[in-house]
Symmetry: C2
Subunit: 340 residues, 2 copies
Amino acid sequence: MSQAKRTTIADIARLAGVSPGAVSFALNGRPGVSELTRRRILEIAEEHQWQPSSAARALVGSRAGVVGFAVNRPARTLGTEAFFTDLIAGVQSALAAHGMALQLVVVSSIEEEMATYRRWRSSNQVDGVIVIDPRDDDPRLSLLGSLPLPAVVIGSRASVGDPPSIWLDDEAAAHALFDYLAALGHREIAYVSGPAEFQHTRIRTDVLASLARRDVTGETLVTDFSPAAATSATRTLLSRAARPTAIVYDNDVMAIAGLRVAQEMGVSVPAALSVASFDDSVVTGLVHPSITCLTRDTFSLGEQAAVFLLEMIDAADPLPARRGPAPTLTIRESTSSPRR
Amino acid sequence: MSQAKRTTIADIARLAGVSPGAVSFALNGRPGVSELTRRRILEIAEEHQWQPSSAARALVGSRAGVVGFAVNRPARTLGTEAFFTDLIAGVQSALAAHGMALQLVVVSSIEEEMATYRRWRSSNQVDGVIVIDPRDDDPRLSLLGSLPLPAVVIGSRASVGDPPSIWLDDEAAAHALFDYLAALGHREIAYVSGPAEFQHTRIRTDVLASLARRDVTGETLVTDFSPAAATSATRTLLSRAARPTAIVYDNDVMAIAGLRVAQEMGVSVPAALSVASFDDSVVTGLVHPSITCLTRDTFSLGEQAAVFLLEMIDAADPLPARRGPAPTLTIRESTSSPRR
DNA sequence: CGAGTCAACTAAAACGATCTAGTACGGTGA
DNA sequence: TCACCGTACTAGATCGTTTTAGTTGACTCG
């Protein structure tokens, strides 16, 4: 019925007629055994389906085989953020290819997040961590900079003293979208953003403001990312005498909510109003009209972050920041020149 | 700079003037120490912020503090399934409340999934697992039945010999939706389903077929859950001379894709066609027209599954199957009586 | 008063790997 | 022949916890 006892290094040592230490050397490709014995040991290990015990490894302070991801977002919203879920999927995919696992924990404050990192570090539970949503003067980053725990930050710009980052050029991306709308002839553009403490929100706001020199009036409405907030922001905008001719939303769900408001109020999209989103997802291409989006390959961003982290774990020295996949503009039905 | 050495049970034992064993007893609420010493030990542990080393615990064969979740779905689609992501969020939320972590791994076959369970079991990496998508004669379930590894199955019906399940009454749910459409007057209903090997797909197909006695003609079109497949299935259905007056989709994304096809083909929803989905998500309420859905509180399903699993881990004996949150029918704009 | 019981502890093994210090042995050069 | 070196190993400590088998000492009971 029950499984036989697990095969340990000691078993293999006995079978091969060597000491456990020698087996460990052989299995880890370390010098200290002859090529001949190494092969013999490897063969026996293979034959008896030896699997390393990650608990034992973690205990003695070497690899845990796990990458940690502490997410500081309300658990309820985790599922609705396309960015987040795609990211996890991508991370997973790269980790799985290297036989590593992902430890996911939801925390509810920055303090808790930092406590998690400390705990992980001190008990050797994870080999490295992935950090998202960097802020200005982020205490998490200083902590991770001092803790000997490999970390990759997924952010908006190359970091300097902090742990290395995979960064998306949010400024270029914001320009791609806003410049396109300006080129179409829009002169009044509204931006329905997320909370202001996120770097990417600030960058986008700044880029929009900078369009003033092209005679574009930009306005930012801050929300909490929720569809309800997007709905009410859109109602406000469309109720004005002087409506904007284009509204850009921070994510796909808000854009869809905004689109609905326009339809309810009889504002035809794209004839009377162009709509666009900074986040793509399956549904943006399926709604009617489909929504112009900045398409970021979040899945491969996750993959790249994971690969980067694995390299850092191996390297031990800090590696230089790396640029993530470039976002591209996906033009769909929801944008056009404003009617005169 | 770097953190001091971690506080171990031995440190506390020294400070309290007792042996490490006694500290272990005290910390785990086991008999063997007086109430007085227990309190003293607890106090010292608290003061020095002792944290158990999960590696050491896992090594000696007790709790790992981790719950495993092996997902056998293509990583790319993970992020797009609202069901899946909501479920994870719910599981996470309940686990976090108990200080447990979630280990998530993506596998690509049933064999790999089973190998993962064996590995987890033999190296004590997880304390229990959550299993989704049960099939008929599922080898995973027999494996988990024989492996001493607590498991909770999230499925369509109460299981018998297999590991206990949290089950959703899919039959009642399917009736709720199909009966409602029949009551509205629909006599030709199409069901765009997922792959036939899933239990819930089978159950829904059967329920629809059973409506024949109410003069309802039901037809099932099998897809792979992808929006593209839903698009083409819908085109086929709407191109017929005798169209169905209602189409029900297995999930939210497919329903949105179907809705778009109807709009493209000039079939007005709900006047000429009613549309409904077996899966709800944020967007179904935001698109125009909003889509009638069977709303299942997937988040709390995840929570309940996690709580159930934690109880099983504590109990060690198998517990009876448990009924999950009841799905409710959310009527929105996309359904109405068929026009004559 | 002695045997027996019980509570409250201790000592030490166990888990499975890694890693350091040491040893045996063959070969080399003087 | 001896000192010396490098290679290929071994022995044993180590990580932090749990757990089993004792060992005390106080108390009870006949």
